[in-house]
Amino acid sequence: MSVTPALDLRGIGKSFGPVKVLDDVSFSAYPGEITALVGDNGAGKSTLVNCIGGVHPPDSGEYRFEGRRVRVHSPRDASLLGIEIVHQDLALCENLDIVQNLFLGREQRNGLTLDEDMMEEIARTTLSGLAVRTLGSARRPISTLSGGQRQIVAIARAVLLDNKVVILDEPTAALGIAQSQQILEVVRRLADKGLAVVLISHNINDVFAVSDRIAALYLGRMVAQVRTADVTHRQVVELITRGTGGEVGLRR
């Protein structure tokens, strides 16, 4: 049984002028699974995400989405395919409430006016689908929410419309332990609902807690894509720091 990856990149290369950032990178993300993207600072994680999201189209290589070859040259292309990126800064509007933020730029209309009831109903269903009860009213302004609550709103925004791939950039980085744990459980639930989730994280323990696969970047090259069930903590640390670990990674 082989499942078609939702996202399948092959031989991706990217340079900024003379600076070569990604070299022959292959990367896949599967529906229903969390693929953790790990690597040291400067390994190319953000550039790879920007290639996927159409911010920086790759110079070379093949981009496949659900088995079809596609061209992604702008964030809009990625968004139309159903790829959503939750950046570390979350990009939420402080002065608007939860519902308004969820539907920002894609408000539901009822003839000439906005369909507020419909939007609130969808917002509620989405949040309860993530088993989130801690937000209180869906009409609370973002400025009154904690860091973890904001992260949940950003994630809910990513899954509101029928997205296929959600990429989360360090979702637990700025949070306390209780909120981090809750976010990890929410992220796990996203994948269990059938989405392909890509999780960028520096926290190896978080990666082991929720991921199904681990993709390790080292100096712009993909040194390993392995099942989390097959590797140990030490191997992953070695992949990140040396590009090789046990029997996986770069051949020396």
Partner: protein
């Protein structure tokens, strides 16, 4: 007497139970959805819902909310959550909880309290009875209690609900279920079950493992309990003591367990072991769930002693999980109670040991999840257990329970 096959009455009882079970577990559903999901024709569904409505178990109403389709709307069948309820009890080493849970699994009301570790069993019984009575008083006048069950951290004999062994909570020779039933005087028996077995049931029916028929639930409190769901059913063993994963010996000659053996999983990953490794066992104020969570918080903040403690406990837990994966080939392992915090805080050592210790074919697909019902696993499991009788034969059971008050004086 020989029976040729199920009688018409048996079939009807079975269908009533199936329909009620569907709306109990999956929530309100339209007649059309029920017909499709249960594979019965619409007139049968109508007859069944009429019977259940007459018995006061469900009610039918017009659908609400968006998503209206063309044509005459199909009526939505809802469980009568406030009129039909059970009492669920959770007895923990440090705390207790009683809840009134409505048909459909809604926790309508609850009472919780703390328990001192070596208090008298009679005192425990009194607080449980007081909690339950205050919940019953708050119920609607026409509401009926259809069952009651207790989750208890110990081994319980299935034949008579006798608590055989509770190393962390000794109740002597108290027959908890019988005593509760007598003191409550509702005319219903009170079942007693192992808490982690109930947790397994709860996560299987309402939690992380809804679609998984081969599941293992691991529950951390002072000790470590377990419940094994195989082919959709709880594995009880010959007398109902099965699933004592906490007493699987993983470190021969290791730490002494409350059961008398050495190196049980519970002895190596239970609360006492974690507090010991973290150098906190001498502190009298440090015990229970909060103490375990404090260590996970300290580890996250960078405290090296706590990190080392979590790492050691995580490695032993990984070894236990590897054994379970090899023996049972579960589709999912769910970590609940304090083990949720330990799993999230020590996933790296747990999964590293699992990668080395479990067979590749068995470990590849196993899903490791935290309890979706959070701290309510035992309580929800007790409620599901208490609902079992009414779900098996809805109309008869309700008729019997309502009978006394219908009799003219």
């Amino acid at each position: 007497m020989m029976k040729a096959g199920p009688s018409q009455e048996d079939v009807r009882r079975h269908n009533l139970g199936t329909l009620l079970r569907f709306v109990h577990l999956r929530g309100p559903a339209s007649r059309a959805t029920l017909a499709e999901s249960l594979g019965l024709n619409r007139s049968t569904i109508m007859a069944l819902t009429t019977d259940l409505t007459a018995a006061g178990l469900v009610r039918e109403e017009l659908p609400r909310g968006p998503g209206r389709r063309a044509g005459r709307p199909s009526l939505v069948v809802r469980p009568e959550s406030t009129r039909v309820y059970v009492l669920a009890f959770e007895v923990g080493v440090d705390r207790f909880a009683v809840a009134r849970v409505g048909l459909g699994g809604v926790v309508l009301d609850r009472r919780e309290g703390v328990r001192t570790r070596d208090s008298d069993p009679a005192e425990l019984l009194s607080v449980l009875v007081a909690g339950a009575r205050s919940l019953i008083r708050k119920a609607d006048g026409d509401a009926v209690c259809v069952g009651a069950a207790v989750g208890f951290p110990g081994t319980v004999r299935r034949a008579d609900d006798m608590i055989m062994f509770g190393p962390n909570l000794d109740v002597g020779d108290l027959r908890l279920g019988d005593a509760l039933s007598r003191r409550l005087g509702l005319g219903i028996p009170v079942s007693v079950c192992n808490d982690a077995n109930l947790g397994a049931l709860a996560e299987h029916e309402r939690g992380a493992g809804v679609s998984c028929d081969n599941l293992i639930y691991l529950h951390g409190d002072v000790g470590v309990g377990g419940g094994i769901i195989a082919h959709g059913r709880l594995l009880g063993g010959d007398e109902g003591y099965g699933g004592e994963i906490g007493h699987m010996i993983i470190n021969p000659g290791g730490r002494l367990c409350a059961c008398g053996a050495k190196g049980c999983l519970e002895a190596e990953v239970g609360e006492r072991a974690l507090l010991h490794h973290a150098g906190r066992e001498e502190d009298p104020g440090q015990a229970g769930r909060d103490a375990v969570r404090d260590i996970v918080v300290s580890a996250d903040a960078g405290d090296i002693v706590s990190r080392e403690a979590l790492h050691r406990v995580g490695s032993w837990l990984g070894l236990g999980v590897a054994n379970l994966v090899n023996v049972f080939n579960p589709g999912m392992i769910v970590f609940g109670g304090t083990l949720r915090d330990i799993y999230l805080g020590a996933a790296a050592p747990i999964r590293s040991v699992l990668a080395n210790g479990a067979l590749a074919s068995s470990r590849e697909k196993v899903k490791l999840r935290t309890a979706a019902l959070r701290d309510d696993t035992t309580l929800v499991g007790a409620a599901e257990f208490a609902f079992a009788e009414v779900l098996a034969d809805p109309v008869q059971v309700l008729a019997r329970l309502r009978a006394p008050e219908d009799t003219p004086v």
